[in-house]
Subunit: 346 residues, 2 copies
């Protein structure tokens, strides 16, 4: 099995299933690959329900945003969980233990800051093959700590179990104090769409590795560990009308914001020119670097919308505008996602 960030499963039936959730015998008897990730999540969310807890706290945001938000006695806690599995999300021959630890922590911390919260603690459920070298596991822990230390976040608990492949499920908690979360649903017509962080670099790195190369180092390293500017994201939380971690790819996650907000996000590739490193890799591999920028998720950039009158905070660049309507356009046209709506990845 090859690591994939998208297209790992067929998307043929995804939209059809969303309209008839839980009723279709053929869907239930089919495989999760046939149904696709988002179709499966829709069905699971239906089974799990949306009622409030009977004691201890109240749910302000449930499934469907970057993170859940629960109010405990006035303290608003943001919760996100993300899993990574060896040979699906990473290969031990391509990434060190430390790389994997950094990436697992970063994926969760990005979800917390994209809700406008301050990340506080992590817990880690770790699956390890019995023959895994102890030093590799300690490197992984060093990677987790390295990324968490950037934000003063602590790992407060975990579980270690036997598993046929290395797997990590990291759960991050953040604090909102009494503030409102920045949700996907707040984009307003006329807002500026902006991005913080690299796009397409991790996808370019993965493309390089999958062809058997190890360089250019900059893009390969971008696959191994994202470089998230947490401070820049956190600076935006008081002025952004919506925010979303780009983990499914820019067009796909812009679609989540558009859907949740009831608007259209009109992206412009004028503002999304590939950097020279991506142009070089694209030329060498015969790939279009623009597709990495529009569909790559593993850089964990953050997408947000801002009122038109505000100046974008440092680290953010405008990539489009919010219009009346629905869906996402790229240079005025709908962008056909190559299976991007149905992958099985973080």
């Amino acid at each position: 099995m090859q690591p994939k960030t998208r297209g790992a499963t067929s998307s043929a039936s995804t939209h059809q299933v969303r309209g008839s959730a839980g009723k279709d015998r053929a869907v239930l008897e089919g495989t999760v690959a046939e149904l696709g990730e988002f179709g499966l999540i829709d069905l699971l969310t239906g089974v799990l329900g949306t009622a409030q807890p009977s004691a201890g706290g109240s749910v302000l945001v449930g499934p469907g945003d970057d993170s859940a938000v629960v109010d405990f006695d006035g303290a608003r806690i943001v919760i996100s969980t993300d899993a990574m599995v060896e040979d699906v999300h990473f290969k031990r021959s391509w990434s060190s233990g430390e790389d994997v630890g950094v990436r697992a922590a970063a994926a969760n911390l990005a979800d917390i800051v994209a809700m406008g919260a301050t990340p506080t603690v992590l817990v880690v459920a770790l699956g390890v093959p019995p023959d895994l070298q102890v030093e590799w596991v300690l490197e992984l822990a060093r990677g987790l700590r390295h990324e968490a230390d950037r934000l003063g976040v602590r790992v407060v608990g975990g579980d270690v179990v036997q598993s046929p492949v290395v797997s990590l499920a990291v759960t991050a908690l953040g604090a909102l104090g009494g503030d409102e979360p920045v949700r996907r649903s707040g984009a307003q017509v006329g807002d500026v769409v902006a991005v913080c962080g690299r796009l397409g670099w991790a996808a370019a790195g993965l493309a390089v590795l999958m062809r058997g190369f190890r360089s250019p180092r900059a893009v390969v390293d971008a696959h191994r560990r994202p470089a998230i500017d947490y401070d820049a994201v956190m600076t935006a939380r008081d002025i952004a009308t919506s925010m979303c971690d780009v983990s499914d790819g820019l067009v796909s996650d812009a679609g989540h914001v558009a859907h949740a907000s009831g608007v259209r996000l009109a992206l412009s590739t004028d503002e999304l020119s590939p950097e020279q490193a991506l142009l070089d890799v694209g030329a060498a591999l015969g790939d279009d670097p623009r597709s990495w920028i529009l569909t790559g998720g593993d850089d964990h950039a953050v997408l947000a919308t801002f009122p038109p009158q505000v100046s974008l905070p440092p680290g953010w660049r405008a990539v489009g505008i919010v219009e009346a309507g629905a869906g996402v356009t790229v240079d005025g046209r709908e962008y056909a996602l190559p299976g991007g709506h149905a992958h099985f990845s973080a």
Copy 2:
């Protein structure tokens, strides 16, 4: 690979490693199986550190108890994470999706109530093989919901990823309000040691299944899903001096309480007679049911200590006393754990 609840790895070097954590090149170059679960956790805890978060909350209880406790603006949140992996913790040919969901939720909810907290929400990271039937995944979700519903707990988020085997990492959050957690470290000399819930039934059920049998149904079902009396555990939280989820086995978890509290737990098998169902299975298989009671963890019973003058709450039975000293005795003698200190399980 066979499902195991204990003895999955060698324990030979565990204690030696605890004394020289991180220094021994032979340990680092060895495998996690050679090191053992507890030795690995010791090393990981050392790497991850114990500093306080720099913002958002303060850690009241870190690694080493059933759950972590974090104070967010005066709201004390209890956090526990537990993973279960196909063919390590369960087999799909032995357990339904619903069984696995119930068990995964129960393992975490037991950890929350064993801290004296009120369980509130769960998040679930789910790994699924592409060829897994959709209906099996929905059954699993029904099992999670069924067990969570018993306590009015809600599943508020999750992640679904591709994995070569079914794997679940469930993270549970509970609320303490302003109360103190009931830790492992509060046992006092003279206290009564008591247990709430069945012991040895899940281990007997696993023994039956591993010999290729499917009955007696009562013990096989006990392996498939624990039957936890959450109300009885929660009633004890105001009077217990210490509490601990029995997930490693009674003797092993009593050892954790003894170590954390600086006392000896003296257990008496007079109070731990096997029920008729366990005697029958033991006779049929040629096994000693007492070893299931003393070392089986998957029933998720709860162990606690109570001041001698209080009446035990309903659902609790006395199984020993707290003495000055260290470690655990069974009928006055040390009990040799068959590898119970080094398994890789939940």
